[in-house]
């Protein structure tokens, strides 16, 4: 089993969600995040005082999937989140040792 984590531009969340549903993903966790990459931050001005804001708002998506779904899921996220401009974000995949559904106690792929 794998845990796929993606950090994307917040306004692309709906596109990514639809793309993931399109490849059969039935659940995901989404949280608000802040961060920067090569894009860096932006400037804000309050009463003439300029501030460099290093961390820009991002959306973080987490999906737990079976091993054979990895390629389709990654492709769905990349397609859904891409705008071709700097700051589109990243996707990474890690091993998930165990998954348990809390309600039933099911384990492993049955819990996905």
């Amino acid at each position: 089993m794998k845990l796929v984590v993606a950090v994307i531009k917040p306004f692309k969340l709906e596109d990514v969600k639809e793309a993931l549903e399109g490849v059969g993903i039935q659940g995901m966790t989404v949280s608000d995040a802040r961060g920067f990459g090569r894009q860096k931050g932006h400037t804000e001005v309050y009463r003439g005082a300029e501030y460099q804001v290093d961390f820009v708002p991002k959306t973080r998506i987490e999906v737990a999937i079976d091993d054979d779904q990895v390629d389709a899921v990654v492709k769905a996220i990349v397609t859904g989140a891409r705008t071709d401009s700097i700051g589109d974000g990243k996707v990474w995949v890690t091993d998930a040792e165990q998954v348990i559904r809390i309600r039933t106690g099911e384990k492993g792929t049955d819990a996905l």
Binding site: E44, V45, Y46, R47, G48, A49, Y51, Q52
Partner: protein, 441 residues
């Protein structure tokens, strides 16, 4: 001889001026970091409680009691004794009840010290705030109000013009703010970290409420429902409008974007500057004064970074500088055509005489308020203490001074520590449950 129309307008204006203080609370509250929002709101809102009581007890009589040497009022109106339905004996508001005049003035006394609190926002100890506000009201505000507004006050007799409080309210509060921040010191991280306003929507709404309430502040200062109130009302709106334009133009000139905080600040700067001349100038004078104030104050708010004092929410840049601009411009734009009890300024052919008197009024207020405030803050600092500990400053005023948080975004926030025993409440079955069952049967 009481006039019902005059009385009705001053009563309504009193309510308008009171409403400025919660407006100020929102204006200031939105500009601080989220951890200090309640502490900042409290600095304005609690003034409504504290100052109202002090004003009735002793503040009013020090400001508007029978004159003692042109400097202060005597104790005749202690506890509002003798403040009743007859007009003020010295002719202040000759057509309205004395109690109405005293109430109208109470609202000014509330907002003036509340203005100062923006300067020491985000680091003031609540007990120090109470001591400072009380002492400042009685030892600084009351005497200056007497000098300027009591017919026997020395600045009133000199002929310095202050329609609604440029010297008494704005210069007085602005220079006091400077004295206070010089003693209390900078916020931790000032000049290095970005202190970003946590909710500018609050600030914009607060500015709107201030603008609305300012009609009572300025037009109400005519102390009657008459032509003077009408022209002061118009000048007030134009001062605010031109102030917003002036600030936005300066932002555009510097190649930046027009900001909402800039426009809100410009409107307040325009309102501050139009306060002393509101009843002495015409509409075009009001537009000019507002534009100048908006532009000058947009520059003045940058001074704190250059000079290195931490005036958190720019009380100096907006109220002190705006108040000086407005008070001096009375000497330029005043015209007896708009107020027969006023005087002609430079443009109306009155020469430099009025400008000279205005300058004396400004300098006297600056000197007295700075020195007296400095003494008050030093004494409070040495006794009760002005500033929270470094740890409390980092945690925020809301939690450390008031045991509350402004924004609780989590459903699980803890459990009761002082919950009453539930036994008695549970054994008697609630009556509304029986009624519901009866209804079903």
């Amino acid at each position: 001889m009481l006039d019902t129309g005059d009385t009705a307008w001053v009563l309504a204006s009193s309510a308008l001026v009171l409403f400025m203080t919660p407006g100020l609370a929102l204006f200031y509250g939105g500009m601080v970091r989220a951890k200090n929002v309640l502490g900042t709101l409290m600095h304005s809102v609690f003034a409504m409680g504290l100052v109202s009581v002090l004003w009735v007890l002793v503040g009013y009589t020090l400001a508007f009691g029978p004159d003692k040497g042109g400097l202060i009022g005597g104790f005749d109106f202690l506890g509002f004794s003798g403040v009743n339905a007859d007009p003020h004996p010295a002719g202040l508001g000759a057509t309205i009840p004395h109690s109405t005049f005293a109430t109208f003035q109470m609202m000014f006394a509330i907002i003036t010290p509340a203005l100062i609190t923006g300067a020491f926002a985000e680091r003031m100890k609540f007990s120090g705030y109470i001591a400072f506000m009380s002492a400042w009201l009685l030892l600084v505000y009351a005497p200056v109000a007497h000098w300027v507004w009591h017919p026997d006050g020395w600045l009133f007799k000199l002929g310095a013009l202050d329609f609604a409080g440029g010297t008494v309210v704005h210069i007085n509060a602005g220079i006091a703010a400077l004295a206070a921040v010089l003693v209390i010191g900078k916020r931790k991280g000032f000049g290095k970290e970005a202190f970003v306003p946590h909710n500018l929507t609050m600030t914009i709404l607060g500015a709107g409420i201030l603008w609305f309430g300012w009609f009572g502040f300025n037009a109400g200062s005519a102390l009657g429902a008459n032509g003077l109130a009408g022209s002061a009302f118009l000048a007030t709106n134009l001062g605010a409008a031109a102030g917003a334009c002036g600030w936005a133009l300066m932002e555009a000139r510097k190649g930046g974007k027009a900001t909402t905080l800039g426009v809100a600040s410009g409107a307040i700067a325009g309102l501050v500057a139009i306060t002393p001349p509101a009843g002495f100038v015409g509409p075009m004078g009001a537009v000019a004064i507002g534009l100048i104030a908006g532009a000058v104050c947009s520059w003045a708010v940058g001074l704190k970074f250059k000079l290195g004092y931490d005036d958190s929410l720019d009380v100096v840049g907006v109220h002190l500088v705006g108040g000086i601009v407005g008070s001096l411009l009375v000497g330029v734009f005043a015209d007896v055509a708009y107020n027969e009890f006023g005087a002609d300024g430079l443009i109306a052919g009155g020469g430099f005489e009025l400008l000279g008197k205005q300058t004396i009024g400004v300098l006297a207020t600056l000197a007295f308020s700075f020195i007296a405030t400095m003494i008050i803050v030093k004494v409070v600092d040495a006794t009760i203490g002005l500033r929270v500990s470094e740890e409390e400053e980092i945690s925020g005023l809301d939690l450390t001074q008031h045991s509350e948080v402004g924004y609780s975004l989590s459903e699980s926030s803890g459990s009761f520590t002082n919950r009453p025993e539930p036994a008695a409440a549970v054994t008697s079955s609630p009556s509304h449950v029986r009624v519901a069952q009866g209804g079903e049967a």
